[in-house]
């Protein structure tokens, strides 16, 4: 049966999440909430310098303190291969990862870890940090991509050469990537209007409310158990095993409840240190970061400089587009510039384009994934420039997107053909939404008003998942997956199982298992859990249904042929029915427990998701402050399993995008010290900074997925900064190619004449 014709009973409803009661009563246990008898508390010593050679580290006074049981530095980590390999989500250089955990030779950013201490109390561990003496030779820091590529710029890594460029010299440019097709010169020659700008966007942090944490216990036989807050327990296992050079079988990772991640909890910071100190001390070691450490030393996402030139003909068709994306990698290679290059023209059908992306190291923390990594920066450039083209051609801004919208069969800029996507449907929905035609307030004294729209696409990730679905003898079921649940995904997975087995969502008890209990499962990231782990659950349910038909045949003492399983019953060709509960109750006499299992690589079932954001702003022309009056987010979910949590992803992503657009930024001093390492000065939006955000779910089923699901976690963060900038332009006539659109910047732009 095609998914579009199927009627669902559970999918599309809004049951209370299974872990809800624990989370509203304070009983849910997050990483910092775990404790073990005899546990030590670990703390980390961090560099105050952005770039310095480590001349010496003397830990002897700390080691000598009573109550201090372990002190480690970079020398206490084994040497590991210095090459990029498949590790973690995507690829990782283990040597870089190790150097980021504890610096060797040089410190490369303010907050770079140098040493760690485990002691009988947190207070004592901090006192011990004070007793560690480090001597530095301070080096000039390289704080942004412009400085990093300048002639004669100080080098972060003396041996780093540019991948993708033959015979390159040592450089701060770690990699160059390129997508191109058609003929740019010919394209621009055919343009009626050409616009070109250079965009600058600030480094921003995921801003999850729960700081990183880890609790490690090493037994006398070397077996390790690790509790931590992570988006991917298997990735944490492989990363820890790699940097500590231990076999995977020795390490069990138990994912605690996780207090937000948004991509930032896909790698390791404390985990290997806690394990190493537990190995040394023979006692469990618990580590929790402070907010200051989270901001200074965990992976934010890249600031960037993007040069973009686009031309369109008189009908608004984009005839040529040329982009250069320079992304801050932080201290080690690995910015999401590739994904920026994918996203920048993703919503458009283009024939002539070139996209060059450069991954550039700077003396800032090693970047990590952040919700649609790289995409928001890129769409800020393309979606504001396209808006400018529309303005110059006097075409409605949604209409110009409609005329260029990608659709099934279009060759994507990064290569393959597009399957069915819902971008055209989304644009239609936005154009006909009452918000788009609502009256804006007239100017009022210093206050002026404007409306903006922007779109954006995100490819989502497929990757691997496992699921085990066990039928209980009363006809209920238990579901085990390996996907840490950040936003209600265990309920959406349980709903898929319930739908397939004809149960209520509450009759399926879902749990998120440790790495010993379930098969390999990739990260909760790339918007993939409901799509990919959901696919594994769907397949496991088919496995259960096959077994139930077999068991029903045994109970009926008839051949299995012709028996179907529908709406929770096995049905014989003669119409006779046996309920799931009836079959389950007899499982002991028909072959033992009924357990379905499935493992998938969901790459083939993945489908991109497109989003759009429509926003009304108020600009105070005397102060430069931009307020958000109304926001509507549109997104193609393929199929919304639990619409309330789909809306939640869309609203949450939108508000993160608003923060990125209006106020969030890493502010460094000239010496490279992070000046706003607190939630007071790193300004994520409060409840008072945003309006209610209406979420409009578009459902264009993903043709590659049996339930039509598309990942919904990320795409919604891509459009808001561009939409806000477009709205500010509509209100003030000024185009600001810079993020965030902070009051001083807007104010300064309003003072200039052009």
């Amino acid at each position: 049966m095609k998914t579009s014709e199927r009627e669902f009973k559970v999918i599309g409803t809004r049951p209370v999440r299974h872990d809800g009661i624990d989370k509203v009563t304070g009983r849910a246990l997050y990483g910092a909430d775990h404790s073990l008898p005899g546990m030590l508390h670990g703390r980390v010593l961090r560099s105050p310098h952005a770039h310095a050679r480590i001349l010496s580290i003397d830990t002897s006074r700390a080691q000598a303190m009573p109550g201090v049981h372990a002190v480690i530095t970079g020398d206490d980590l084994p040497s590991v291969p210095d090459r990029t390999e498949a590790l973690g989500e995507g690829t990782t250089n283990a040597n870089d990862l190790s150097n980021n955990l504890l610096a060797k030779g040089k410190v490369l950013y303010d907050g770079h870890a140098l040493a760690a201490v485990a002691a009988t109390s947190a207070h004592l561990a901090e006192e011990a940090l004070d007793k560690i003496e480090v001597q530095y030779e301070v080096l000039p820091p390289v704080m942004d991509v412009r400085a990093a590529v300048a002639e004669g710029a100080p080098l972060l890594h003396e041996t780093l050469r540019t991948a993708g460029v033959p015979e390159s010299k040592p450089s701060n440019i770690a990699k160059v990537i390129e997508f191109a097709r058609g003929d740019l010169d010919e394209g621009f020659a055919a343009a009626s209007v050409i616009v070109e700008r250079e965009f600058t966007t600030a480094m921003v942090h995921q801003g999850y409310i729960e700081p990183h944490n880890a609790l490690a216990k090493v037994d006398a036989d070397g077996q390790i158990t690790l509790w931590c807050s992570t988006q991917g327990s298997f990735d944490i296992r492989s990363l820890c095993a790699k940097v500590l050079q231990i076999p995977l079988s020795r390490l069990k990772v138990i994912p605690a409840e996780i207090g937000g991640g948004f991509g930032g909890k896909t790698t390791v910071y404390l985990e290997p240190l806690a394990i190493r100190m537990s190995q040394i001390s023979g006692r469990p070691v618990h580590m929790v970061m402070s907010r200051n450490e989270v901001l200074r030393a965990t992976g934010p996402t890249s600031g960037s400089v993007i040069r973009l030139k686009m031309g369109a003909n008189a009908h608004g068709k984009i005839v040529a587009a040329d982009a250069l994306l320079d992304y801050e990698a932080g201290a080690f290679p690995g910015s999401p510039v590739l994904m920026g290059a994918v996203v920048i023209f993703a919503p458009y059908a283009l024939e002539n384009f070139r996209i060059v992306g450069r991954d550039i190291v700077v003396n800032r923390p090693r970047t990590a994934a952040y919700r649609a990594p790289g995409g928001t920066n890129a769409a800020f450039a393309s979606e504001t420039l396209l808006d400018e083209l529309a303005e110059k051609l006097a075409i409605d801004p949604i209409e110009i997107r409609r005329r260029n919208a990608t659709c099934e069969g279009v060759q994507a800029p990064w290569g393959p053909r597009m399957q069915k996507v819902g971008y055209e449907e989304l644009l239609d929905a936005a154009q006909s939404h009452p918000h788009y035609s609502a009256e804006l307030p007239p100017p009022n004294g210093p206050l002026v008003y404007g409306r903006g729209f922007a779109g954006g696409g995100w490819g989502n990730a497929g990757l691997q998942s496992s699921a085990i679905l066990s039928v209980n003898n009363d006809g209920t079921a238990t579901l085990v997956t390996g996907s840490p649940d950040i936003g209600g995904s265990r309920t959406s997975c349980a709903m898929i199982a319930a739908e397939e087995l004809g149960l209520e969502a509450a009759d399926v008890r879902p749990s998120v298992a440790d790495t010993d209990t379930i098969g390999y499962t990739d990260v909760t990231g790339g918007s993939r859990v409901t799509m990919a782990t959901g696919l594994a659950v769907f397949e496991a349910a088919q496995d259960v249904k096959r077994q139930l038909r077999e068991r029903a045949a045994r109970m009926w003492e008839c051949p299995e042929e012709g028996i179907v399983f529908e709406d929770g019953d096995a049905i014989r060709p003669n119409g006779e029915r046996l309920s799931l509960a009836a079959i389950a109750g007899k499982a002991g006499r028909t072959g033992g427990p009924v357990i379905g299992r499935a493992t998938v690589n969901a790459n083939r079932a993945n489908g991109p998701s497109f989003a759009g954001f429509l926003v009304d702003v108020e600009v105070d022309t005397e102060t430069g402050k931009v307020g958000i009056l109304r926001g509507t987010v549109f997104q193609d979910a393929g199929r919304a399993i639990h619409p309330a949590y789909v809306e939640g992803q869309m609203q949450g992503g939108s508000v993160q995008g608003i923060g990125w657009g209006l106020g969030e930024e890493y502010i460094y001093s000239n010496e490279g010290k992070l000046e706003n390492a607190s939630l007071l000065d790193y300004r994520i939006p409060t409840a008072l900074d945003v309006p209610l955000i209406e979420a409009v779910i578009i459902e264009c089923p993903n043709p590659a997925h049996p339930l039509g699901i598309r990942g919904v976690g990320e795409a919604s963060i891509v459009p808001p900064p561009a939409a806000i900038a477009n709205a500010v332009a509509a209100a003030t006539g000024k185009r600001l190619p810079v993020l965030p659109l902070s009051p001083p910047r807007v104010h300064a732009a309003l003072q200039t004449g052009d």
């Binding site: 991509g263 994904m339 990594p373 990064w414 995100w458 990730a461 790339g526 690589n601």
Partner: protein
């Protein structure tokens, strides 16, 4: 004949050509044919005998499960795609 779409860096080895006609039966053989015609064109794609981490293969509109072993049809379009992740 299947069609191999060349990435921008690969095109530099092939005089700017955007696509090559190749015969299978598998993706691996298709890439070997390309390498024979334009030596060095696939060098960056391989690490030893395997596709380098960070690359994968799409045929038409789908990322395939077995990149190098996938069988081609005469209408197949082969794309070399960077492995993509998310947050």
């Amino acid at each position: 004949m299947a069609t191999l779409f060349l990435t921008a860096p690969m095109r530099r080895h092939a005089g700017g050509t955007e696509r090559l006609e190749v015969v299978g039966p598998t993706v691996r053989e298709a890439l070997e044919q390309a390498e024979k015609r334009y030596p060095g064109i696939t060098a960056d794609l391989f690490e030893g005998n395997d596709l380098r981490a960070g690359f994968t293969i799409a045929i038409n509109d789908t990322i395939v499960d077995h990149p190098l072993a996938s069988l081609l049809e005469p209408t197949s379009e082969i794309y070399i795609v960077p492995a993509m992740g998310g947050g």
